[in-house]
Structure formats: C-alpha cells, structure tokens
C-alpha cells in the first residue's frame, strides 16, 4: 500500500532528469538576478549564501530517502544519486562564488581563511570529502567497489553534519534557520542509529501478520 501514487516505469528516467533541471533553477535564477544587478544589497554574499543553503537542502533531501522508505514504504531511491550530486554541485558553486566573486582570487586571503577560520575549514573539509562521493556516483563504481561503496558513501553523514555546523558557525546569531537545519540533520543521522532495530521489529511484525520471509536488503 503506497502513500503516493506509483510513477509509471517509463517516466522514471525522465523524472530524474527533471529533478536535475529543477535542481539547478535556484542557482541559475539567482545568477541571472545577480549578474543583472537585481539581487538586493550585497549581491555576492546573497548569491553565495543561497548556494550554500541549497547545498544543505539537497544534502538533507539525500538523507531523507532512506527514512522515508523505512517509515512510509515509499521508495525514491532512484532520486538519491541526483540529489547527492546536486548537493555536490551546489557546494562546488558555493565555493567558486566565494573564490571568484567574493574573494576575487585573493589566494593568500582564501588560504588564510581556510586555515584559520574553523567554520571555513569545516566547510572546505566537507567539499573535499564530497569529491570521492561525486566521483563514485555511477553504476560502474558501485559494481566495481561492491560493499566498499556503501562504506565510502557513509561519509555523507559526516558531510551533512559539517554542512549544518558550517552554516551555524557562519552567522552572527544562531537563529531559527540554522537551528532548523541542525535539528533536521541531527534527526536524520539519529535515524541511522535506530534503523536496524526498527527494521528488525518491522520484519518480525509483518512475519507474524503474513508468514512470508522478508528478503529486502537494506542499503545505507
């Protein structure tokens, strides 16, 4: 029994491409507004901030796929790679905006920021950690790496935590918005610690209800 109507199979591929296209809309529209002088006030910072925020949103969306499947039986795993890659592209654009538009390639300042300012160090670490995940986000790597792929991609937990922390540490006062992101990431990561127990309980319950052996294999 699905909570949402099932998407016809022939639309699975196109729906993923639609997600990529939609995913780039915030960046593209903000870039257009910024480049044409229509972003209010400090246009560069607004753009930088927007890219960072969407990176965090896509990371959170990536982490939501598994709990949604566990709890509601809705399987959106086909979108997870797109969401993860969108998160990576947004982190990359966030960094490029900082490096090119904000700091205008003042490398001594950039290096000093990365080395000396904990929130920038953390953000930079998250970007670096995302690179191997982005590079292995393809079927060939999954086949090639086997079980090591799952292990490697658990790094996303560290990255999401770093992202939320980076946001909270960058603001003058930790207000409701960074709090919300910290809460969401905490919740999603906590789910991973109780997940195995929950799935066992769910399996046992359904085994009692209808004695058919459960064969579902759970992945990260």
């Amino acid at each position: 029994m699905a909570l949402v109507p099932t998407l016809p199979k022939h639309l699975h591929g196109p729906s993923i491409w639609a997600l990529y296209a939609l995913g780039f809309v915030p960046a593209a529209s903000a870039f257009y507004l910024g480049a044409t002088g229509q972003l209010p006030g400090n246009a560069i910072k607004e753009f930088e901030h927007l890219l960072g925020l969407w990176a965090l949103r896509f990371l959170i969306a990536t982490l939501t796929i598994t709990p949604v499947r566990d709890l509601f039986g809705v399987n959106w795993i086909r979108y997870r790679r797109a969401l993860g890659l969108l998160a990576f592209y947004y982190v990359l654009m966030h960094f490029l905006a900082y490096m090119l538009l904000d700091q205008m390639l003042r490398f001594p300042a950039i290096l000093a920021d990365i080395a000396r300012r904990p929130f920038i160090t953390i953000g930079m670490a998250a970007l670096v950690l995302l690179i191997p995940l982005a590079l292995t986000s393809n079927n060939w790597s999954i086949r090639r790496l086997g079980p090591r792929w799952n292990k490697l991609h658990k790094l996303v937990y560290v990255i999401a935590a770093a992202g939320a922390l980076h946001f909270a540490m960058s603001v003058k006062v930790v207000g409701p918005e960074p709090m919300l992101y910290i809460a969401l990431v905490t919740l999603l990561l906590s789910w991973r610690t109780v997940r195995t127990r929950f799935l066992r309980w769910k399996r046992q319950r359904s085994a009692i209800a209808r004695p058919i052996p459960a064969t579902e294999k759970a992945a990260g």
Binding site: L39, P40, K45, M104, R106, A109
Partner: protein, 313 residues
C-alpha cells in the same frame, strides 16, 4: 580633514536620485515588471539640511540599497527584514530622555531634535560583516545635544538605548529573540563629543525610514556599523563603561570600541577587506581594502593615542 571638505553645493544636487529612480523604472520595465524587493523609503518626508563639511569623495551607495539592506534585529535578522517588517512602526511622536551625570536632564521631542541645525554628511559605513556603503546622512553633532544637558565632570561615557516595542517590532516578540532588549550601545565621552559623531534624523534628503532607525539614530563613521544604535529613546551619561549589546552577546568577537581596523580580524572572518555594496550586482560591487578607522584616522586616531588597539578592539 582636507579630503572631506565639500564644494558648496545643495544637498539635493549631491544625490542624483532621479537617475536612480529612472534606472529602477527602466529595469522594472526591462524585466517585464519582475523586480525583487521594491523597497521604498516608507513614510519618509523631505528634510532640509545644509551641506556639511564632511563628504567622502566616493560614489554614493544607491538609496535602494541603503534602505533595503539593513541590520536591525528588532525587525528580524535577515537583511531584508527591517524594510519588510517595519511598516507598522510609529516613529512619531517620539521622545529621547537624556539623563545620568548631567546638570540639566531633560527630554527632547522629535521637533526639538529636528530644530538643531541639520547638516548633510556623506560618510562611509563599514559593517562588521565586511561590507560597506557610502551614505548621505542628515543630522547634527551629538556634541550639540550634550551641550544642552551639560555633562558633569564625573561623566566619562555615554550610554544609548533603543526603544522596546514588541507590538511594532516583530524581532522583539516570538519564540526566538536574537538579542537581549533593549539594544544598547556606548561611547567614551570624548568619542561622543567628536565632531564626526552625529545623531542622524534623515538620509538621502528625507527623514529616516523605519528600517534605518527612525526617527533618530547614532552615526559614528570610524566604528563598525553596529555601534550606530537605532531608534534611540535614552541617552545617559555614566562614569563607568556602559554595557553594549554585541559586546555582551559575544565579548571575544565584538569589543567596546569596535573601531574599524583592518589589522584586527573578527575571529570568524578577516576585516582586511570589504565589499562595497552597490547596484551593478556581481561585477559592480567590488572588494576593496578596509582603511584604519574607516578612512577617518586623520580625525580620530589621536583619541586612541598610546592604546593597544589589538587589546581594545
């Protein structure tokens, strides 16, 4: 002070405001009416002022940016919040109580404040967040007001307080309170009496919009913007350093003095450079070196002679 001496021209001529308005109209038309945040000056009324002696010789930050990109946490922590959430704030009638170590404590009504000889001053404004503007304020030297109340010899500091009105200031009500109210700031008496220090009652030829601190705010151009306390209701002279909101909130990040200083970084970001906010988006705004005392060293550095500015940040 030579670099700030202005040629004798009318306040209305300094600001090619029609050009900005024209441009805005053109942009709006070009974008098919699609334009973000058409923030206007609200209830601002025209205000007469003479041209002051202090005028930075740099292009003015467009009025649109000055009145739509603000830090005024009483109306919310977002830069656009003050313009968006301050419509119901009532800057009139208004009274400022001046008391403490003075021989003639009294209240000043808004009309009395507007009766001081008003001048236009074009100052740089450097926010602690490493962005800056060039703003044509209208106001009068704080020293003129202090003269009226006659500070006692024991007075060493001046304390300021912002109004508390949770009904009109959404940032002061609700679950999340970013700061402790009232917002408070302070200056040393000699800083307060410095000719550059003004109480501002207007900007861009008009009374202050609510989001800019209506009806009266402090402007201390050589200090970070947060020292420029807005919507002031109380000014007290004290013997001891008064509590300052940001200093209380994060003492390691915001000092009492908060003088603009490119050599002393904020713990979380560099203060060596700044982005000049302006129209022109990504390629019009530019990053420039921050100047010691925000470019006013010649006028104010002597106030801090012999002080360790790293310790007294």
């Amino acid at each position: 002070m030579p670099s700030y001496r202005a040629p004798r021209i009318d306040a209305s001529e300094i600001t090619p405001e029609r050009c900005f308005l024209d441009r805005r109209g053109f942009m709006a038309a070009a974008a098919g009416g699609l334009i973000l945040g058409s923030a206007t000056a609200g209830h601002a009324a025209a205000l007469k002022a003479s041209t002051g002696a202090y005028k930075v010789d740099e292009p003015l930050t467009p009025e649109k940016d000055v009145t739509s990109y603000n830090n005024f946490y009483e109306f919310g922590t977002g830069k656009g919040d003050p313009a968006a959430n301050s419509a119901s704030f009532k800057p009139e009638p208004w009274k400022v109580k001046v008391n403490g170590l003075v021989s003639k404590p009294r209240e000043f009504g808004l009309e009395e404040l507007l009766a001081f000889p008003l001048e236009e001053r074009v100052y740089r404004m450097r926010c602690v967040e490493a962005w800056s503007m060039v703003i044509p304020w209208i106001g009068f030297p704080l020293a003129a007001l202090l003269d009226e109340v006659e500070p006692l010899g024991s007075a060493k500091y001046v304390a300021f307080e912002t109004v508390i009105r949770p009904d009109e200031m959404p940032g002061q009500s609700g679950y999340f309170q970013p700061l402790e109210w009232p917002y408070r700031e302070g200056l040393r008496l000699d800083e307060a009496r410095h000719p550059l220090t003004i109480l501002s009652v207007g900007v861009y030829g008009k009374t202050l919009p609510n989001q800019n601190g209506a009806p009266v705010r402090l402007v201390v151009p050589w200090k970070y913007g947060f020292k420029g306390i807005k919507s002031i209701v109380r000014i007290s002279l004290t013997e001891t350093p008064p509590p300052c909101t940001w200093n209380l909130t994060a003492p390691d990040e915001y000092g009492f003095y908060a003088n603009v200083n490119p050599a002393v970084d904020h713990p979380r970001w560099s203060q060596a450079t700044e982005i000049r906010v302006g129209e022109g988006g990504f390629f019009g705004s530019n990053r420039r070196d921050t100047l010691p005392f925000n470019g006013y060293a010649e006028e104010v550095a002597s106030l801090y002679a012999g002080m360790d500015l790293r310790a007294n940040f």
